[in-house]
Symmetry: C2
Subunit: 205 residues, 2 copies
């Protein structure tokens, strides 16, 4: 791997390649080409070759990529060759669904904690853990050393919860609340907002 | 609006601007600048000005943008100056949560139908509609003229459901299943996969 700074837009495509490689592996394939991968993910073969070559020479002219080798490399680059524990904040419908989401398995993540501020939810079991009081976010998350959180609270509570998470030492927030949040510079935020994806498609209707 | 083809990457940023403008409007602001907007969304002021100017001259040097005017223009461009009815396929945890999601309101969408293939779920009420049998997707969706669907089935069923939706006349699919799907050329797909967003952040941890 080079030590130069890789543009974030390239980093953002690697998980897409990894997911497509998993799909090929699940179907029993052992090797693939940038052309096949490109058709699966809707990105040009040239772009894929260029992206992957940023990190080294992982393919062979003529024979393409070994799927398991390339997957291992991508997992290593993305640091998902391990299992990250994540915390869910807000156990409404989305939070509950994520607590039971089986798509994290084998992809580097495991939900380890969940918080809510509703007394009716605190102390209840969700998946294989107990929902904790949101007032204890800072203590509980920092004690556990969790660096990643799924923010699933209503829009009006999102900024306050994000502040708590930042103080707890969380460095990556996946925000499901339909609003922007401000965080310190060393904290990254990604947004999951179905409406922005839908609006990107209605333009073409 | 120009009639030239606007790159999809720009279209993809417009919903982000619209969401940030809503946030400013909710806070009582009447005007904004590309600099302020840029700080909210993490995109450079120059890029924002360039993106918006693709569609016309909506701002004034020195006074910036009228928030309500720019929001109207963006809604018009993205075709969310109306309400699109959407169908949910798969009423597991995520589907249920989306049926009750209040983030669609005033943003151009309303869930109008939901489908599942589980006899225990079919016929039950979810939000303000009855869950229909997934076997009737083609008839029900084409009869209603719905063009947009949220695909919330398990990965193993995603391709089959996507095929049904395409045959029903759906032109935009938001795929929550953790797998890629193939669709005809005139159907657009966007993916909601928390893991790809998380993996994009673990790279930096």
């Amino acid at each position: 791997m080079t030590t130069e700074k890789i543009p974030d837009i390239i980093i953002g495509r690697l998980p897409i390649y990894l997911r497509a490689l998993q799909r090929l592996a699940d179907a029993g394939a052992l090797t693939t080409s940038s052309r096949e991968l490109g058709e699966l993910v809707g990105i040009s073969a040239a772009q894929i070759r260029k992206d992957i070559s940023q990190f080294g020479e992982f393919g062979k002219q003529g024979t393409g990529y070994s799927i398991s080798f390339l997957m291992d490399k991508l997992r290593d680059i993305l640091k998902v060759d391990r299992v990250w524990e994540i915390a869910i904040v807000g156990m409404g419908g989305i939070g509950q669904a994520l607590a039971h989401f089986n798509g994290f398995v084998d992809r580097g993540f495991r939900v380890g904690m969940a918080f809510d501020n509703d007394p009716k939810k605190i102390g209840r079991k969700a998946a294989d853990f107990i929902v904790l009081d949101a007032a204890t976010i800072e203590d509980e998350i920092s004690a556990r050393g969790i660096k990643i959180a799924l923010l699933c609270v209503p829009a009006a509570s999102a900024q306050e919860a994000a502040d708590q998470l930042a103080r707890a030492g969380v460095k990556a927030i996946l925000n499901y609340a339909p609003t922007s949040i401000s965080v310190p510079e060393d904290v990254r935020v990604q947004y999951i907002d179905p409406v922005t994806h839908l609006q990107r498609m209605t333009y073409y209707l």
